[in-house]
């Protein structure tokens, strides 16, 4: 029989390894994409795939010549920040009312909102497209801001609600006894206390908006198209230029990868809803 010590060590090693394997499997494609972007088209399509090769910048030069990268990047930035701002303006008061003036309907409202995230986006493509067409929102940044706000709102309300729920009611009651109005309660007590959680919500909304590929492809053509649409423009017809597609993907992902990497801790702390401390 194993001693206590040996038993524990074996378990730790065994299960730790599994966890790492899972993580590695998920990250390998990104590594592979960046690698491919520095290959020639011939190397990229080689079978079996090549790990060692002579790196080249030709794909990046080609993209620089063919497309206006900064036009798409600017669209991505405007749309991400715009929808995040709009979303927070709606999510904070909604979450405040749900967290601190809970009624019988509160839970079912939340439930209803959250369950919209479970809807297949293809299902609502038609009505959204028609509404956008009627209101002249097709291929506008404002239209994308609206749709991203709607998509991310349930998760934003939910996150902000969770952070507000963590704040003891006592503190708001103390503020009320101290003479604070409802607005002063929110701006001078609630928001400063939950600023860590709100920052996480903002981060998540930015990242989700940046990565969104379904609606941006279906609702934009060129003037409002973000980076995800740029990538798609390299993929469909000329399906064989893997290296160039890898390069444009790397360019599209780079800002958010760097941004996400820098804000990793804040983001995960926020996602964890206080479970990891």
């Amino acid at each position: 029989m194993l001693t206590l010590k040996q038993g524990r060590q074996l378990q730790t090693v065994l299960l730790g390894t599994l966890a790492w394997l899972v993580a590695l499997t998920i990250f390998f494609p990104i590594f592979w994409m960046i690698l491919t972007s520095f290959k020639t088209e011939i190397d990229a399509f080689a079978t079996p795939p090549q790990l060692f090769f002579t790196p080249t910048l030709e794909n990046y030069l080609h993209i620089d010549a063919r497309s206006d990268y900064f036009h798409f990047a600017w669209n991505s930035v405007v749309v991400s920040f715009g929808s995040t701002l709009l979303g927070m303006l709606l999510a904070v008061p909604a979450a405040y009312s749900m967290a601190f003036f809970e009624t019988k309907r509160t839970k079912s409202t939340l439930l209803w909102m959250l369950s919209t995230k479970m809807l297949p986006p293809v299902g609502v493509l038609v009505p959204i497209y028609l509404i956008f067409k009627d209101f002249g929102l097709l291929d506008t940044k404002f239209g994308l801001v609206l749709i991203y706000t709607l998509i991310n709102l349930p998760i934003m309300v939910w996150m902000v609600y969770t952070y507000f729920k963590e704040i003891p009611k006592d503190i708001l009651e103390a503020a009320r006894l101290d003479g604070a109005t409802a607005l002063q309660e929110i701006y001078r007590v609630l928001l400063p206390i939950s600023k860590g959680g709100l920052a996480s919500t903002v981060l998540l909304s930015l990242i989700l908006s940046w990565n969104e590929a379904f609606w941006s492809l279906n609702l934009t053509a060129s003037s409002a198209a973000p980076l995800t649409a740029l990538v798609a423009s390299y993929s469909s017809p000329e399906g064989l230029f893997w290296a160039k597609l890898s390069a444009v993907s790397t360019l599209a992902c780079a800002p958010i990868l760097i941004f996400g990497w820098l804000s990793q801790k804040q983001l995960v702390r926020g996602l964890s809803f206080g479970a990891v401390k």
């Binding site: 009651e173 103390a174 009320r176 006894l177 101290d178 604070a180 600023k195």
Partner: protein, 369 residues
Amino acid sequence: MSDLTIRNLKKSFEDIHIIKGIDLDIKDHEFVVFVGPSGCGKSTLLRLIAGLEEVTSGSIQLDERDITDVAPAKRDLAMVFQSYALYPHMTVRKNMSFALDLAGIDKAEIQRKVEDAAKVLELGPLLERKPKALSGGQRQRVAIGRSIVRNPKIFLFDEPLSNLDAALRVLMRLELARLHKELNATMIYVTHDQVEAMTLADKVVVLNAGRVEQVGSPLELYHHPVNQFVAGFIGTPKMAFLKGTVKAVSNAGVTVALDCGPHYQLPHQSTSLKPGDDITFGIRPENIEVVAADQSPFKVRLDVTEHLGADTYCYIKLANGEMMTVRAPGDFMADYGQNAGLLPDLSQAHLFDASGKTIPRPRPPAQAA
């Protein structure tokens, strides 16, 4: 002046009646403690006074002004919460000045008031710290300081010591008692701990199931509880309750036969009792002496004996299943299962009728307080 008058106050949450009609007068400078078991409505009553809950019916008056529907901030009250409820993102100074700040008071004036309060509570060196850098006792003092700067008519405390450890609780209890004497303020204090109620209050309000059971000074409640509930709630270890029957009633008092054996004649005066009535005999642990088995008609077998050093508690399970506790001196020694006799001090005994109401006992002049 700060006289609080509560008349026929009721509070229901949907169909649940929490406060079932309370009348209460609190006078200027009094330290009043609301005490009772959990769920008795004591915290709700405090929150009604603070304005944090809406009154269902009845009225609350502060110095002739009806404050029943006034917003909390306009009631001239300050509250110290169980959780302290400090603003975690503000320094101690900001926490204390927040109310004055919102009221738009002059900066210099605010600074003076905060520093005065900090001096009283010895918070001076902590003024620039955030709450999370403070110990439990310090947070407690900041919460009190936040109340003091507002110079309210009444201080409300909602179980303020329940989050502190035992040693700190004793210290903060003393500090509160001292503060009450120094500020000469009116204070209303809620607790479930009868020791806190006994040690802090000028006047104790014992609540049970949304009603007031008794209002009085701590020693009044201890020596002259109006019913069995108050008698059992106040005092540790608990008063022993022994069931019995009335044998005779005369001018000299009441004679009772206890189910567990002995007969006692007690000096209590009653016009309502008659022979054959059920009765409960109550006696506190410190009013019983343990003697050798042949020296008393009240014979028992001692169960577990606990030596606390200064005192010894003897637990006794009587032949008829009733439990009682006796407090003996610290050097008392007994074996598990040993036979002994009990000598209760009958002048300190209590009698309760079948409905739990006290049969009054004669008061010696010294105890009339």
